[in-house]
Symmetry: C2
Subunit: 356 residues, 2 copies
């Protein structure tokens, strides 16, 4: 089959370790399914600041632009936390989203059976929770004009939140489409009782809704959604919302599953191109020790197969292999009940590859 180009951005902290295991899984699918992947590595985040003086070097962006998909480990760490804005890993993250037109962030929050007890929620509340947060990723207050000025009351800071109809339409359509492939329920989250951007958002959702008559739509205010996620997590299917609300709610949703170390995410633009990464961060405290859990990154590969390449079957094979290894009782330290029996990053990767 056709060669697929994957830009590989290992990043900082545990990034290189978990990406290493995901690459093993990629290679195994070449063997099993006859795929051909061409991997090109790029520097990004803290390591790029150290080596190239910028979190998102032009070479890295070029590698991503020429690729069919991007696999990202994790970026950031205390070393760069007090840097000026242009020299911070987050700036690279926002830059790559904008430069690649990744307007949609897809964050599945599912409960892994073997991790049910890791949640702080009662198991009976969590039962059946399987939702996706679709977050707008290149608009809103993240990308609006920001500045300081002198005012009558001393220095003032300003952030601007802007959305246009086209931006709202494309993310909302995508959320309706995704809901159509699942339980056909869509919750659109806004703060239409206060914000003008939310009123535009809600009007747009209501205008598009008749195109999807089989999807059950509810509008939920963001404060209420933060509550309902706790009270009735399993009643949500797809949640669609703007950038800032999505940042908060997707993290809340991920945490309530108790499975945050296992969750993958996709950032998509027009067409099939996508950037895939684990939800967890760079965990600088355990970096380099060979104990990080590679599963979220490996599952990000499965998501890439399904959403970008259309390799449905291979994606299923990866997901089943992960499940099989977990069912057999193997655990990395973060998810092990008995820490003394925990296995390392490489051992976990090898077991998953063997189970494929």
């Amino acid at each position: 089959s056709e060669v697929k180009k994957i830009a590989v951005i290992a990043g900082d902290g545990i990034g290189p370790e978990v990406v290493g295991e995901a690459i093993k899984v990629l290679k195994k699918t070449e063997e099993l399914f006859g795929y051909k992947f061409e991997l090109e590595h790029g520097l990004f985040g803290g390591i790029a600041i150290d080596e190239k003086g910028t979190p998102l070097p032009k070479e890295t962006l070029d590698i991503c632009k020429k690729a069919d998909a991007v696999l990202l480990g994790a970026v950031g760490g205390p070393k760069w936390d007090n840097n000026p804005k242009e020299l911070r890993p987050e700036t690279g993250l926002l830059g790559i989203r904008k430069a690649l037109g990744l307007f949609s962030n897809i964050r599945p929050a599912v409960v892994f059976d073997c991790l049910k007890d890791a949640s702080t929620l009662k198991p009976e509340v969590l039962e059946g929770t399987d939702l996706i947060v679709v977050r707008e990723l290149t608009g809103g207050i993240y990308f609006g004009e920001k500045f300081r000025r002198e005012g009558a009351q001393g220095q003032e800071a300003v952030d601007t939140c802007v959305y246009n109809v086209t931006e709202v339409e494309r993310i909302v359509r995508q959320a309706f489409e995704i809901a159509g492939t699942r339980s056909k329920r869509l919750a659109s989250v806004d703060k239409a009782n206060v914000l003008e951007t939310s009123r535009l958002w809600r009007e747009t959702v209501n205008r598009i809704a008749p195109e999807y008559p089989d999807i059950e739509l509810e509008h939920v205010l963001v404060d209420n959604c933060a509550m309902q996620l706790l009270r009735r997590p399993s009643s949500f299917d797809v949640i669609v919302t703007e950038n800032m609300f999505g940042d908060i709610l997707s993290d809340e949703a991920a945490m309530l599953t108790g499975s945050i170390g296992m969750l993958s995410s996709a950032s998509l633009g027009e067409g099939s191109f996508g950037l895939y990464e684990p939800v967890h961060g760079s965990a600088p405290d355990i970096a380099g020790q060979g104990i990080a859990n590679p599963i979220a990154t490996i599952l990000s590969v499965a998501l890439m197969f399904k959403l970008t390449f259309g390799y449905q079957e291979a994606g299923d094979v990866i997901e089943r292999a992960v499940k099989q290894v977990l069912d057999a009782g193997h655990r990395t330290g973060d998810i092990a009940v008995d820490k003394s029996k925990a296995i390392g990053t490489t051992a976990m990767g090898d077991l998953i590859v063997a189970a494929m």
Copy 2:
């Protein structure tokens, strides 16, 4: 003792019912402690829209301005949900906050022993949770300029988030002070890795912090805070944050206690003036049936006594009476395990008055 003027705004839905019981409690303290309260009633919210054509009539605002404190029931309901902005109850709420200079919203999130099981969190996680969210209430994206305009990509909506140093200083100082009366831990929540207003916020917090050397300060990003509230709720003492983040996080914090029907809140300005209200809404579905839980409103009176009037002992008496009635097993429908044994609004109010 001196006469205290209280503006009473019953509002919509169950507002009048729960406020009625709170007034009984006020009267009882006149009897027990020799206080004198002068109550002046004002129309506000939906009922004011219906009767006066505006959610916040000038007469009501005048009553509030002349008072020492305001007791508010609840506002809003589906009847007014599709009204134009000027004719919506929320507009009255934002208007009264601004007009009375109520820049600080204090929301205690505590777990009532008898309601532990009502939470969706595991009891062992919830154990010891007793936190206060201090939310900035008259600034930020709620009150910045909002408008629509035509852009290259169709219609655009804009919201502006503005904070000046003075606004941040006064709310942050208040939060440090409150933390000083409690467990001496303050979490300041922002999104300083993205927002300019958050960077101003964090700089200001760091500048003020040395004035409170005995308070342990942590900065938490808002997305991380949404997670940590779920993972380690009992580790928080006072959380201070800007308006929009506070709206979301205070509701999340309230819901995780499982006690949302029991929580009171205060909105404060300069000096001792304050507006007190239950955290729960107007519950239009059960309005007029005499079954609403009046405890959150009664506890709002206790908070008013402590924060505005300095009536510490009377506040304690109210709180103890509530506890005693609950310990004796009395429950309104919302918190009853055996719904058939639930008592009504008036019966609950009477029991609390009797226990005082």
